[in-house]
Structures are given as structure tokens and as C-alpha cells.
């Protein structure tokens, strides 16, 4: 599903050059639930961003669904992200000015769909995460766990093949974290969605199919 070949990411300032990701090669199979762990600053989020086409690698090749995405234009990348990828962030990144349903509809705005279709799909996604009674609430009227569930609904509404989750339980207590993890496991099991999750939590990581550990930008396990 995803193939990384010798990926490198270097951050340059006038005086310092930092190697955030150092020659990582990784294959993620279709339907796999993979977790990435490592200490802070080891490059795990950078790697996830590169896999999600949010950031460009300095070197190396990324193939997703057998396509070399390295040479994609801004338009092509946008379309590809919209169709194939869904994102869940640690700090939810919901748009506070929009109601829950409008937040969830967001990915559908960037593809051909009618207002009714968007509403139906968003409601369905919110039902899946158990929030069908919060459609007209604003994000700041919800708890952290509820916000993350809205974020999950937004990530799955467009039925992407791959979900990239950056510490999705990082801001939640363990009970909430477990709930979120359950939802992700079910998505993976029932819908066959490929999930790549960055986490600090060993317990969460052990619930996934495979664990990759990074240290100083390199893969250690």
C-alpha cells in the first residue's frame, strides 16, 4: 500500500542542518495497522507527515497504491490526499467556527458531491463514532474525547484507504484513549482501512499489528 525507499528529511537554517529522518525504508501492507514509536524529536511525526504527503522528503521515493507521488503537482497532491488519505491529529484541529457536521463534511467539499450527499455521509460517519446527537454543536462545546471522535469522523467520511493518526490519544485520559483506540481498531478490522499511528503509549502500540521504533531519525526495530 505504502512503500518508502530511503527517505531522508533535512531541515536547514543558516547555521544548522538537522537530519530529522535518516534513510528510512518501510513497506506498509494494505489493511495493516502500524504504530510508530520513539522519543520526542526522533522524527516520527515528520515521517508520518511525509507518508501523508503533507511534507516533502529531501531524498527518497514514496509510492502509495503503486503510484510514485514524488513528482505530483499541488493540484494532484490535493486530489490524492482527498481521495486516499484521512488524518487524525493530536490536537484535533477542528475548525471552531463551524458546527460538528460542517467540520465532518469538510473533505467532501473538495470533491464532486451534493449538499444532501455530504450531509448523509457526515451523519453516517458521526453515527459510527457515536456522536450522532451532536451534529449542531460547536467544537468548543465538546469534551476532548468527543472532539477526537469528530476528528475521526472527519477522517473517515471520505472513505479513505489510509488513515494517518498523529498521537490520537495523546491529549486524552486513558479511558477516553481506549475508546478512541477501539474505534480505530474497528475501522481497521471492519472496513479494512490501513492505519499508521504515531504514539508515545506502549499499551496502545501493542494493540496494533506492527510496531516500528525510531531513534534520532533512524529506524531501530
Amino acid at each position: 500500500m505504502i512503500r518508502l525507499q530511503n527517505i531522508e528529511k533535512v531541515y536547514r537554517t543558516d547555521t544548522v542542518e538537522t537530519l530529522a529522518v535518516n534513510g528510512i525504508s518501510l513497506d506498509v501492507a494494505k489493511g495493516e495497522f502500524l504504530s510508530i514509536m520513539g522519543p520526542s524529536g526522533c522524527g516520527k511525526s515528520t515521517l508520518l507527515n511525509i507518508m501523508g504527503l503533507l511534507d516533502e522528503p529531501s531524498k527518497g521515493i514514496i509510492r502509495i497504491d503503486d503510484q510514485d507521488v514524488s513528482k505530483f503537482s499541488d493540484q494532484q497532491l490535493a486530489k490524492f490526499r482527498n481521495k486516499k488519505l484521512g488524518f487524525i491529529f493530536q490536537s484535533y484541529h477542528l475548525i471552531n467556527d463551524l458546527q460538528v457536521i460542517d467540520n465532518v463534511e469538510l473533505p467532501l467539499l473538495y470533491r464532486a458531491s451534493s449538499a444532501k450527499e455530504r450531509k448523509d455521509l457526515a451523519t453516517e460517519a458521526l453515527e459510527k463514532v457515536g456522536l450522532s446527537n451532536r451534529l449542531r454543536h460547536f467544537p468548543n462545546q465538546l469534551s476532548g474525547g468527543q472532539r477526537q471522535r469528530v476528528a475521526i469522523a472527519r477522517a473517515i467520511v471520505g472513505k479513505p484507504q489510509i488513515i494517518l493518526a498523529d498521537e490520537p490519544t495523546g491529549n486524552l485520559d486513558s479511558a477516553m484513549g481506549n475508546e478512541i483506540m477501539e474505534i480505530l481498531i474497528n475501522l481497521n478490522k471492519n472496513d479494512g482501512t490501513t492505519i499508521i499511528m504515531v504514539t508515545h503509549d506502549e499499551n496502545m502500540a501493542h494493540k496494533t499489528h506492527r510496531l516500528v521504533r525510531l531513534f534520532d531519525g533512524s529506524q531501530v526495530v
Binding site: L54, L77, A78, N82, F89, D97, L106, L109, Y110, A115
Partner: protein, 412 residues
């Protein structure tokens, strides 16, 4: 999609009320001034009472004599001699109105001084200009030939001179110690119509100055009225052919410029004109530059506010990009949002303009000049709003759309 943009635009406007106020104030204030100025310009240049036939009229308001060797010029209105001997003999015009520009005369009612602006005209004048007669009628050709002491007055003069009377026709009005019998009363007109404004209209034959004097310079102007708009070029060509043959008379000057202009050209010639050049392009350039400068300041202000506002939303930009918005889509979204803001400002601007125009009309600052917000003025306002929205929205939107997704997401 648009509904979604609208929702977010309104939410963002509500979020930072002070910024919203500054933006809306800038837009609506600028627009109000521009719209009032447009209403004024529209009133000046569009056919209006009593000068309804502008589309088929040519105006002769200025004679310029020049000594090209020494660079002397002599500028004045035309003489009656020039207008009647040469210009009224033209074949193409249906009518030629000849008139003086208004001058003040003193009159006294109950020992109280009243200044009356008077004007001499020929008979055609009343056919070229479409005055609305509230009572009576214009003086006839015959009365002019007989140098009859008759007059047409405006409604305001009737009120000021005779008081609240039902009729003034048949009564006598005195100006500069000469008595005239009132034959007609016309509806008031604004002072801005230089060629047509007066309080008292008299036959040119009762003029104290010698209208028979031979020479090119004098106190008269003329309007040539073509039979149809289509005949305008023909009329102009005949005029130019004729005027080229008019002898200068004065040895001191070797060049003579007497132009038959459209209403707009005649206006610009009196301010910017020189010789054959009516100065119309200079006038249009100056007006455009003033509008541009006037628009530039609030636009720059709005660009700055927009950059701050948009950068505050970098997390949203990151999210939208992550979920499939291209840079182009984001530019479109922010420009649409900005146009919503400017249209909102525009709406306030229209309301403010209505209030200002109402106050202007009520104040009688320029007597009888009644400004209005017609379709031309409103369309101009809409165009300015859209231009405003585009100019102030595109640059911030473009800058924002270049943001790297990861950087945008981190900045929350």
C-alpha cells in the same frame, strides 16, 4: 460550497469584532464618498432638467484667440455677432440656442435688496432647452424682434419677489431699474448648469450692452441642436468647415479656436482646455488617479488586516490542505470570503450614501440640485466593491495558500 464559505466568513467576522469594524468602516466610508461623488458627477454629466437633449447637442462656450509668435492668448465667451452671423446660418442644426451666461442684478422689494441672476436668450433657446412652464409661456420671436420688456422667471424668483402668489404672469418685475412684464414661470434648476441657470430670462434685444458690436469675443454661448443623434457628425463637420472660414478680424492674433463640443468636452474645456485640445483626457486621467489613490489607502489597510486575520487561521488552512484543498481552491475561498466582507461593507456604504445624499438634498447646499442613487451610481458602487474585494483579498489569500501544511498545523 458557497454556503460553507459564507458560514465561515460570517463566523470569522463575528470573532474579531474590532477588526471587522475597522474593515467595514474603511470600506463603507470610502464607498460612501465615492458614491456621493458619482451621484454628483452623474447629475452633472447625464441629461437632466432642462438640458435633456445632450445626446444631440453641441455646446459653444469659449473662444480662444492666440498670438503664436509671442504666446499671448485671449479667452472669453463668444460675441453675439459671431454666433448669429456665422453659426446660426448653419444648415444641419434644427435649432441654435444663443444665450448669455447669467450675471447678477440688484432689485429692491420693500427696501430689501434682492440679487437676481439674469440671462439674455434668443427664441430658439426655449426649444433647445426643455423648461417646464408652471404658468405662462416663453417670449416669442416677435417679442424679441420688438425688444419687448418681457421676462420669464423661475418659481424661486416668483416666491422671493412676489411672495406666495398664485400667479405672477402679467405682473412686473424690476431689475437694474428696468421693469419687465412676466410672461412665464419655470420650474427651478440647479446653479451647476452653467449654460441654463438664471433667475430671470430676458430677450437678448433688451440687453444694455451692444449685441450688434462686431468682434469675436463677447458674453454669449450657443447650443447647436441636431435633428437626430445620427446627424451629430454631419453637424460637427459643417460647423468645422464654417468656423475655419471665419475671419479673425484682429491682427494681434493669428490663431482662433472656437469649438463645438459635447457636454462633457465643454465642461473639461472650461477647466483644462487649451487651443484645439478640450482637455478631456487630462480630466479623465486626473479623475481616475484621484479615484485610484482614494481606493488605494483603504485597500492597503484591508490587505494588512486580512493578512493578520488569515494568518490567525493557519491551523484551518493546514486542515483544509490536508483534507484535499489545493492552493488555488484556498485562494478562491478567501477571495470569496473577502468579497462577502466588502459586499457587506458596500451595503452599509449604500445606506450611508442614502443618508448623506438625503442630508445634502435637504441642506440645499447647492440650491435645486437634487442628487439621487440611480442605477448608474449603484452599479459603480458594486463594481468598486468587487474591485475592492479582489484587490484586498487576492494578495493575502495567495500568501496564505503558499503556507506549508505542517507549519500551518503547528502554529495553532
Amino acid at each position: 460550497m458557497l454556503k460553507n464559505y459564507f458560514k465561515i466568513a460570517i463566523a470569522v467576522l463575528k470573532r474579531r469584532k474590532f477588526f471587522t469594524f475597522i474593515s467595514l468602516f474603511g470600506i463603507s466610508f470610502t464607498l460612501t464618498i465615492l458614491m456621493v461623488a458619482t451621484a454628483f458627477t452623474d447629475k452633472m454629466f447625464s441629461p437632466d432638467y432642462p438640458d435633456y437633449k445632450r445626446a444631440r447637442s453641441l455646446y459653444i462656450t469659449r473662444v480662444q484667440l492666440e498670438n503664436s509668435k509671442d504666446g499671448w492668448i485671449n479667452v472669453s465667451s463668444a460675441s453675439y455677432h459671431l454666433l448669429s452671423k456665422y453659426i446660426s446660418k448653419l444648415k444641419t442644426p434644427e435649432k441654435v440656442a444663443i444665450f448669455t451666461f447669467s450675471s447678477p442684478a440688484n432689485t429692491y422689494i420693500n427696501n430689501k435688496k434682492l440679487v437676481i441672476e439674469y440671462k439674455y436668450t434668443n427664441a430658439d433657446y426655449w426649444d433647445v432647452a426643455e423648461y417646464q412652464f408652471l404658468e405662462g409661456k416663453p417670449y416669442s420671436k416677435q417679442q424679441i424682434e420688438q425688444a419687448a420688456h418681457v421676462a420669464v422667471i423661475t418659481a424661486a424668483t416668483r416666491k422671493n419677489y412676489f411672495g406666495d402668489v398664485a400667479t405672477a404672469v402679467g405682473k412686473y418685475i424690476e431689475a437694474d431699474n428696468v421693469s419687465y412684464r412676466v410672461v412665464g414661470v419655470v420650474k427651478d434648476l440647479p446653479r451647476t448648469l452653467r449654460n441654463f441657470y438664471a433667475d430671470l430670462y430676458l430677450p437678448y434685444t433688451v440687453s444694455k450692452s451692444d449685441y450688434k458690436e462686431v468682434g469675436l469675443l463677447g458674453g454669449y454661448g450657443a447650443v447647436l441642436l441636431a435633428r437626430s443623434e445620427a446627424e451629430m457628425p454631419k453637424m460637427k463637420a459643417e460647423y468645422e468647415q464654417m468656423i475655419a472660414k471665419v475671419p479673425h478680424g484682429d491682427k494681434e492674433f493669428d490663431l482662433m479656436y472656437v469649438n463645438a463640443d459635447t457636454s462633457l468636452e465643454a465642461f473639461s474645456r472650461n477647466i483644462f482646455g487649451n487651443g484645439a485640445n478640450s482637455g478631456i483626457w487630462l480630466m479623465i486621467t486626473i479623475m481616475s488617479l484621484v479615484i485610484l489613490l482614494f481606493l488605494l489607502l483603504p485597500t492597503i489597510n484591508l490587505i494588512n488586516i486580512n493578512i493578520t486575520r488569515i494568518m490567525e487561521r493557519s491551523s484551518e488552512i493546514g486542515v483544509r490542505k490536508a483534507f484535499g484543498a489545493s492552493s488555488r481552491t484556498l485562494v478562491y475561498q478567501f477571495v470569496v470570503e473577502n468579497i462577502i466582507l466588502t459586499l457587506l461593507g458596500g451595503l452599509i456604504g449604500v445606506v450611508l450614501s442614502i443618508i448623506v445624499i438625503y442630508a445634502f438634498n435637504q441642506s440645499n447646499l447647492v440650491p435645486n440640485l437634487s442628487l439621487s442613487l440611480n442605477l448608474t451610481v449603484l452599479s459603480f458602487g458594486l463594481v468598486i466593491c468587487l474591485l475592492f474585494g479582489l484587490l484586498s483579498g487576492v494578495y493575502p489569500a495567495w500568501r496564505m495558500s503558499r503556507l506549508n501544511v505542517v507549519t500551518a498545523l503547528k502554529s495553532q
